[in-house]
């Protein structure tokens, strides 16, 4: 499963559940940069998300930041536990997925884990 993990330059991870269904979350690097999260806004089931456009936002004590969708498709499931427990994103960002999207038609540019590690080491 882990081979199917992709990353974006806007610090989201994408896991393919099957060929047209993905699970999306925020990377470990992103949660560290943002610091302790205190609030999350999520879309609703059935919403359309568009590759490269914000679909959620996360709030730390410092700032509110957009989370961008790596894919175009329809939200099939939302991890509503995050609404009450945004700290899960800090404690286990790979487990704390935001949404699952089906009927994926389009994607942004994806990086492999190695490429992403290189990308953030340049950024950081």
């Amino acid at each position: 499963m882990m081979q199917d993990l992709k990353f974006t330059k806007t610090n989201e991870w994408v896991q393919y559940l099957d060929e047209t269904t993905v699970r999306i979350g925020l990377t470990d690097y992103a949660q560290k940069e943002l610091g302790d999260l205190v609030f999350v806004n999520l879309p609703e089931e059935g919403d359309e998300v568009v590759a490269g456009e914000a679909f959620a936002d996360v709030e730390s004590v410092k700032a509110v930041s957009d989370v961008y969708s790596p894919v175009t498709g329809t939200v099939r499931s939302v991890n509503e536990e995050l609404l009450d427990h945004p700290e899960l994103i800090n404690s286990d960002p790979m487990e704390a997925w935001f949404i699952e999207v089906e009927e994926v038609r389009e994607t942004t540019e994806f990086l492999t884990e190695d490429e992403y590690d290189q990308f953030i080491s340049k950024e950081g």
């Binding site: 302790d36 205190v38 609030f39 709030e59 004590v61 410092k62 700032a63 509110v64 945004p86 700290e87 950081g124």
Partner: protein, 479 residues
């Protein structure tokens, strides 16, 4: 310290109100409370001591240096309060007949005239209670304008990525979709990107000028023209007006609507509830949409309140806004006069440049060329190399008896400190602060670990901000 609810005793009170001299009316039992109102019951002595104790724990402009960037924490002259205390202003009722409050109406008319002159606008409303409220009102003027022309597809407001957070928030609250406009490496609006983002759906563009990096938007005329060509309107966020009073006017830069923060630029109280005041001014093309009522001058020189304004967006606050704050702002304008206001802006810019120049060898300053009334420091390198963050630096400043700058803003600068000294600080104060900043930096480099523990001398050390945000306790609950 104890809360006021935890002080005093049952049945105790202060005789601050005069005895009732009118018949007591019975309230309809349907509207009566079922349980007794829980109010503090304290004597005047206890009340007075309570607030004095609270006062000792606060920090204001009267305590020391307060360089909160984009907040313009300038000194509030005492003459402002003296004028606001005059019984003709303070002992009136908002529903009094117009002919008994002509002086108050004249204050509003005069303040409108002067503030329009300063901003290059044609009309102004004083209803909005603060900056973000002004933004919300101004955006509704923009919406009303497009709607009145039958132009219904304009649902997007463009906002630079360096904007105050209130801009996208106000635009969203006013029902618009927010489009982010990137900044260039030089920290200015990316004109080429802007040109690509405008179109038939552009309702307007919100801009602070000088912007939050303390830089004057050099391409301002081309920026506002780009928006106008696309059919949108330009909104001026007046948060940083203190840099340009009497020197440049938003109206001449191509802005159609502005808000001012009287509690920043015009020396009225800021913080502690103020209350604030965020007047909205506009060009003639938007005037008919302003909130009602507007003060108008009659042919005989007297003033009236004009309610007959069919296209008005309606009220945004009860009555006439925070009137006594307006009295203070007008006092400030009349005290300083035309040259004085210009001098205030020039000194504000000079003070910021002096501090930046003195600090630029020590601190990393992302845009080190001449700034306007504020400048931004980045502590990214210090954070990376020594683990000392902008928060650590801000906290230790408290122990030196100075207020920290705005931190972690603007968002496009990592580990930002945004410094706005204002014109009301003397050179000696600036020199002392510069020495403190340098001393703190040296400590951060030589002894980074120690920086995580400050402040030690304040009543409250480091509150748990994360816990406060996750589990806020917003009111007192009786046992």
């Amino acid at each position: 310290m104890k809360l006021i609810f935890e002080k005093g005793n049952k049945g105790r009170g202060c005789e601050l109100l005069p005895p009732c001299d009118v018949p007591i009316t019975e309230v309809n039992p349907n509207f009566k409370r079922n349980i007794e109102l829980h109010l503090p019951e304290v004597s005047e002595t206890e009340l007075s001591r309570h607030y004095t104790e609270l006062m000792k724990r606060t920090f204001g402009v009267n305590d020391g240096f307060y360089p909160l960037g984009s907040c313009t924490m300038k000194y509030n002259p005492k003459i402002n309060d003296e004028m606001a205390k005059l019984p003709g202003f303070s002992e009136i009722h908002p529903l009094q007949p117009e002919d008994t409050i002509q002086g108050c109406l004249e204050v509003m008319a005069l303040a409108e005239e002067y503030l329009c002159e300063i901003t290059g606008m044609d009309r102004m409303s004083f209803q909005p209670a603060a900056g973000a409220h002004g933004e919300f009102t101004g955006l509704h003027l923009i919406r009303a304008y497009h709607k009145s022309r039958g132009d219904k597809k304009r649902d997007k407001i463009l906002v630079p990525d360096s904007a105050h957070g209130t801009n996208p928030a106000s635009a969203t609250m006013a029902g618009f979709k927010v489009i982010n406009v990137p900044s260039t490496k030089e920290g200015l609006v990316d004109l080429e990107a802007l040109k690509k983002l405008v179109g038939e759906d552009t309702a307007g563009f919100m801009l602070t000028n000088p912007n939050t990096l303390g830089l004057f938007e050099e391409n301002i005329l081309e920026i506002t023209d780009t928006i106008h060509q696309a059919g949108g309107l330009n909104y001026y966020d007046g948060a940083n007006l203190n840099a340009i009073m009497g020197i440049a006017r938003p109206g001449d830069m191509g802005f159609d609507v502005v808000h001012l923060n009287l509690h920043k630029t015009f020396s009225t109280p800021h913080g502690g509830g103020g209350p604030g005041s965020g007047p909205v001014g506009c060009k003639d093309l938007l005037a008919k949409f302003l909130p009602s009522p507007q003060v108008m001058k009659n042919s005989d020189g007297s003033f009236r309140l004009e309610y007959n304004n069919e296209q008005s967006i309606g009220r945004v606050k009860a009555f006439y806004g925070n009137f006594l704050i307006l009295v203070r702002a007008l006092t400030y304008i009349l005290t300083l006069g035309r040259e004085g206001l210009k001098n205030a802006s020039e000194s504000a810019v000079l003070n910021a440049n002096y501090m930046m120049h003195q600090l630029k060898e020590t601190f990393s300053i992302p845009f080190p060329k001449a700034c306007m009334h504020e400048f931004v420091i980045s502590l990214e390198k210090l954070k990376k190399e020594k683990g000392v963050s902008a928060l650590d630096i801000a906290k230790v400043m408290l122990d030196y008896g100075i207020h920290p700058p705005t931190m972690y803003f603007p968002l496009i600068i990592q580990e930002a400190l945004m410094v706005e000294p204002t014109e009301t600080e003397a050179k000696e104060t600036l020199d002392e602060v510069i020495a403190i900043y340098k001393q703190i930096y040296e400590e951060a480099v030589n002894n980074p670990e120690s920086l995580h523990n400050y402040p030690l001398k304040t009543f409250i050390g480091r509150p748990d901000e994360v816990m406060a945000a996750r589990n806020p306790i917003l009111r007192y609950r009786a046992e």
